[in-house]
Assembly symmetry: C2
């Protein structure tokens, strides 16, 4: 039996989940894996707080050095969240030759090459399965299972909060605000929901996933990002009539040698495997030239699902004789600022002769070809009606240029939602 000393940085919900899981599974892990884990130090903000796990007071410390400098601690598990001080603590652990297991997508995505380089230089491991999609082993799939593939796309529902909100809007016609409040009441959204609903959380995760998929570093700043706070029940409802389900998608694609990395609301056909991913679940859909299409589905958040991934990394880290690490990738220099897809364009336009032809003409002048159009419902008080266009595959930039001209020329209010068919 090998005993491995570990230290925790942070002990909120996730940390307590890991502690509980290690206690619950102690006998099974010792028997099946031949490893016993010894939690030696836990960094907390306050030692007096009540916690969701039965942790002896003697393990708690408010001094990071107690974890980072303990020579008996071989593996440091980090679940403090946030960029700092998490990133610098991880750097210190790696520089001391300690292996790091982290759930922190923000610190990882923003210090990606720095952390990997430090791990490589000091012979330490860096494990981060839990940083993307909780229990879903998508990191291991990309690194250890699909490494013989040329990945053409990774399309994911990688934020549970927004998927819950959009699922409620879809199933019940709820407004964005009502669905968000419900999510907050259930503890699925933070009191300040910005990181989730504006797509920041998904952008960190997509930076990690796309770097692994394309073997080039895709920095967070180059991920196009648009949240769900502008989505209306009308968008959801019109989409349904076209057989489309609205999701917040994270899309990484390699097309014509250029990388697209973008997070935005998008419609998928109802028949697409991602369409039926409901509630707070996550799923990642991957296409590779040999494996074909795959999907990984599961719980992307929560203390125990995240702990499941963290303890799997911990076990892997403890057994590995030499740690496998991603290469230090150069920054991708070919990130696309334009892409083509089908666009759903909904607008409120004056119901007058000539307006429709003017709108259609504007699309045409920008090279955007229309696949279908519906006009719905009664005129509002200003004499305007709802019009929805579905384009053929068209350039994002061209569609935006057409829309901006429409706004100037006709004063129409427009929402654009991309449609991802594959």
């Amino acid at each position: 039996m090998k005993t491995v000393g570990i230290g925790f940085l942070g002990c909120g919900n996730i940390g307590c989940g890991v502690y509980r899981l290690l206690e619950q599974q102690r006998a099974q892990m010792e028997e099946n894996e031949g490893i016993s884990f010894d939690v030696r130090q836990i960094l907390v903000r306050s030692t007096g707080k009540r916690r969701g796990a039965d942790i002896p007071d003697s393990l708690l410390t408010t001094c990071a050095q107690d974890v980072l400098a303990d020579p008996e601690i071989a593996i440091v598990m980090e679940f403090m969240g946030g960029e700092q001080p998490a990133a610098s603590y991880m750097m210190r652990a790696l520089e001391a030759g300690k292996t790091v297991v982290t759930a922190n997508k923000m610190a990882l995505a923003t210090h990606w090459n720095e952390l990997i380089r430090a791990a490589r230089e000091h012979g330490a491991g860096l494990y981060f399965e839990a940083s993307v999609c909780g229990a879903i082993p998508i990191i291991r799939a990309m690194c250890d299972s699909l490494q013989a593939n040329r990945i053409s796309s990774v399309t994911g529902i990688i934020n549970g909060t927004t998927n819950y909100i959009l699922s409620r809007m879809s199933s019940e016609g709820a407004s964005y605000q009502a669905a968000l409040s419900e999510a907050q009441r259930l503890g699925l959204a933070e009191p300040d929901p910005t990181a989730d609903v504006e797509g920041f959380d998904a952008a960190y995760k997509l930076s990690i996933l796309s770097s692994l998929a394309f073997h080039r570093h895709v920095p967070v700043e180059s991920v196009y990002r648009e949240g769900i706070s502008g989505v209306t029940p009308e968008d959801v409802q019109f989409g349904r009539e076209f057989g489309l389900t609205l999701k917040l998608l994270a899309v990484a694609k390699e097309e014509n040698g250029r990388i697209q990395a973008r997070v935005h609301p998008a419609f998928v056909p109802d028949s697409h495997p991602l369409a039926s991913v409901g509630g707070a679940f996550n799923a990642v859909y991957v296409s590779g030239h040999a494996c074909g299409e795959m999907m990984f589905y599961g719980r992307g958040a929560g203390d125990m699902p995240t702990a499941s991934a963290l303890v799997s990394d911990l076990t892997m880290a403890a057994k590995e004789k030499s740690h496998r690490l991603p290469a230090v990738f150069g920054d991708a220099e070919d990130i696309a600022d334009d892409w083509t897809c089908v666009h759903f364009v909904r607008m409120l336009a004056t119901d007058e002769p000539g307006v429709l032809s003017e709108l259609a003409g504007l699309f045409a002048r920008h090279g955007v070809s229309i696949a279908s159009m519906v006009q719905k419902g009664e005129r509002d008080a200003q004499g305007r009606v709802q019009i929805v266009f579905l384009t053929h595959r068209a350039s994002e930039c061209a569609v935006r240029a057409a829309i901006s001209e429409m706004d100037e020329a006709l004063g129409v209010q427009v929402s654009i939602i991309r449609v991802e068919k594959d």
Copy 2:
């Protein structure tokens, strides 16, 4: 750059796929993984045959010893299929300290402990991701990602041929025979389809999956097995009216300390993630106490998807300093011969006063409680009508006993299909 000598046992579709993939990805694998693979010997039945890959004649041999005794071959890849001579070749390779990578579920499931023991004794690796569900990394998920979980159930669509047939029966009302012929025409079913349609293929895979899930050896012989050849379009159609989709499921469950391992046609609710797995796709749905519910979806067969898994194993095997292997499990002594679930029971019964009450009475005497019943359609020439019962959760043995008495007492023709709701 590390160069690793490898040998192939067999070179049909899968072997050619692996050869092509290694050639295609040579530069990428050298750059990202730091490994160069050198294919040195390929065992074939006949050296004269045309193959689907550009393989130099100098690599081909009809003598197994050329592969098994070459000291420069560190890793033997086996894709001959069938139990023998594949299993004994793999044993010889392992006994010579060579690592084995195999796609052969039959040889692996029937020689499970023997192969694992040989690998352990000789310090060799044994990798078998490709033996279950092609490209889907379900083996690695069970061994490396969910190891901190108590798995309660593994429910899979793990045979693409039968899923294709049932999908056609469901979408087009096709008969079993017509859908099978179509599958044969497309190369999705063998000229002799027995191994697929009677559930043997799924039983081998389930033996492997359930042994890994429950850390006890579940021999193939203890897997309950029932194929799809008796499924009728009426079953499929009635199921649809109850909101149920018919699949050939492989179910491994631990309930009340006993293991269930069974392959049979089963209904899942239309809303279940497995219901929308269509065509020749595979999917495995796993429940664990920490990770919650997960699903892994992808291509379970075909040369390139299988090659994707084989080359991922090969890369892992080449990089590993000490191979991770499952333990040699004792045989599970607690495999259940009874289980409870909802049963769909369809019968053709004489449409006479009293028959229905007699049927209901028989169910009741066996402790089987009825949740709903429908009688459908016109009387046939013998004055019989279709009746479908959906039971509440009931013992499999009790339902079978009731049915057998009905058959004796009333001469009714019955089909039973289990309903898996979770």
